[in-house]
């Protein structure tokens, strides 16, 4: 057989880091910031009403120790909550996809858990469990396990029927089909669920802190607003967004490292 058959190389958008891709967003953001700064300066807007970017930056620098301490709390809640909802979500999704009985039993509860507003649950958790990190972690789990479950179930169930039959002709059992086909097939779905879940985790942690806490960025915002420390509220928001973007990017990086087809791409280059 001719060995010089053409090898197809498929390029994916993330294969190369394109600098041009980032120029426009960076320019746009800086323009907005400069405009904001100018308008605040031009109309002499009071700091407690709307602080300029420069004073927010200054606040971040001056209160760095304070912001750092509260960030540690919030990040811990986010990460512990997210990891737990990952474990719970994946196990639940596996059980739902593997067993019809579990699906019929568990899915209504999973959906119901999303119709009850977290704002309502959070104060109850406060009554039952008290202050501290655990009720916040529970809020994070409640809000972020849903996209993981739904996406993973979709992924596990949408494996190609023809491939399933092919595996059967090779003698595969139901369990082997699950492990060798459905699970790997669902990994990209799981990751897209994780990307949503990590952002929701940030929101969950802040909501948990708003309802009752003694530390965390959410707590810091709640305490600073009545004191008209508006620049500190903004500083907290900036840090929180930074955390959110960082964690989101982290998930994306892990996804690229883990996804087998990304491995292929690396082998190619």
């Amino acid at each position: 057989m001719d060995m010089n058959e053409e090898i197809k190389i498929e390029r994916r958008w993330f294969a190369s880091f394109d600098f041009k891709y980032w120029i426009i967003p960076i320019c746009l953001t800086s323009t907005l910031l400069v405009l904001w700064e100018l308008l605040v300066w031009l109309f002499d807007v009071k700091q407690w009403l709307l602080p300029a970017p420069s004073s927010i930056l200054q606040e971040i620098f001056e209160s760095r120790q304070l912001l750092f301490n509260h960030s540690v709390t919030t990040i811990s809640e986010i990460i512990i909550g997210f990891l737990l909802s990952l474990v719970i979500g994946v196990c639940l999704a596996g059980a739902i996809a593997y067993s019809n009985v579990v699906e019929r039993f568990a899915y209504p509860f999973v959906i119901a858990s999303q119709t009850i507003p977290v704002i309502v649950i959070a104060p109850l958790l406060l009554i039952w469990i008290g202050y501290g990190m655990i009720p916040k972690i529970i809020v994070v789990i409640l809000i972020s396990f849903f996209p993981i479950v739904v996406n993973t179930v979709d992924g596990l169930k949408s494996a190609d029927n023809d491939t399933m039959r092919m595996l059967k002709t090779l003698g595969a059992s139901r369990w082997q089909i699950f492990v060798k086909l459905q699970v790997p097939y669902s990994i990209p779905f799981l990751f897209s669920g994780m990307r949503v879940a990590i952002t929701l985790s940030v929101i969950g942690a802040v909501i948990g802190e708003w309802v009752g806490s003694s530390s965390g960025l959410g707590y810091l915002m709640m305490r600073s607003a009545p004191q008209f420390l508006t620049e500190r509220v903004f500083a907290s928001i900036v840090i929180l967004s930074g955390i959110g973007i960082f964690l989101f990017a982290l998930v994306v990086v892990i996804e690229r490292l883990y996804m087998p087809w990304y491995e292929m791409e690396k082998r190619q280059n």
């Binding site: 057989m1 092919m166 002709t169 090779l170 292929m264 082998r267």
Partner: protein
């Protein structure tokens, strides 16, 4: 296979197989009264128009779907636990995109509980024969169509069944690659002594490769005729130019065209 062949009984007998598909729109009769006898070590082809139930027949043989009528025997006794005991290469290659060529090839052995290590070592020895050396660690998306088909065939062969079904394995390939594959498959089969059933649209492909050709008619599928190909082995593609061969080819094409 469980039934070893005694006293020359066919390795596979289809006894008046019929299949009716149930769908929301009603019933579709795909096959009616299909009977075949296939001897051990034979290379048999099935040709027929599109939609005449060729894939349906192979799916039934492989044990994926149950026939609505009829029985399947091996060595004269009913053969029920076929699923997992007959090699089957479907129309599409169905390679797993997250597995390398090597790991796609060893699926069957992995499933039967052989350690990955020893399955891989065994498969590596076959790579040359299948024109895949140097590509063991590539992924399906990096392969040409012909190579993917060969990986799928290797996967089927490594399942190590005495009977192998091939459903239009070369349909998606260009003419040149296809005749390369014919030559290659001929060589391979002649050294294997396995029983092969090949489904195809291509009359020339069927004749050059097989000992006998079943010609099916359509809607519902039935056996129109069986044609023996009495050409010597080993065969070569050059035989396609011989007068005997051309006459046979014309005969089969006429059979396919005829309405009854």
């Amino acid at each position: 296979m469980t039934n070893t062949i005694r006293n020359n009984l066919p390795v596979l007998t289809l006894n008046r197989i019929g299949k009716v598909w149930q769908s929301r729109e009603g019933q579709v009769e795909a096959l009616t009264d299909v009977s075949m006898d296939i001897q051990e070590g034979e290379f048999v082809s099935i040709v027929g128009p599109s939609g005449c139930g060729k894939s349906t027949l192979l799916n039934i043989l492989a044990g994926l779907d149950a026939p609505s009528k009829g029985t399947i025997l091996s060595g004269g006794t009913p053969w029920r636990d076929r699923l997992g005991h007959i090699g089957y290469m479907p129309q599409k290659d169905l390679l797993l995109p997250w597995r390398s060529v090597l790991d796609n090839a060893i699926l069957a052995e992995e499933i039967s509980g052989v350690s990955k290590e020893s399955a891989r070592n065994e498969a590596l020895k076959m790579m040359g024969e299948f024109g895949l050396s140097g590509f063991e660690h590539n992924y399906p998306y990096q392969l040409s169509g012909g190579m993917k088909q060969r990986v799928a065939l290797l996967r089927t062969v490594l399942a190590d069944n005495e009977l192998i079904l091939l459903d239009e394995p070369f349909a998606a390939l260009d003419a040149l690659t296809r005749s390369n594959m014919h030559e290659w498959l001929l060589g391979l089969w002649e050294s294997w002594h396995k029983t092969l059933i090949l489904v195809t649209h291509d009359v020339e492909e069927a004749l050059i490769l097989s000992d006998r050709v079943y010609v099916l008619g359509g809607r519902p599928g039935f056996v129109k005729s069986v044609v023996s190909v009495d050409m010597s082995r080993p065969r070569s593609l050059a035989m396609a130019d011989q007068a005997d061969f051309l006459r046979l080819k014309k005969h089969v094409i006429n059979l396919l065209k005829s309405t009854s």
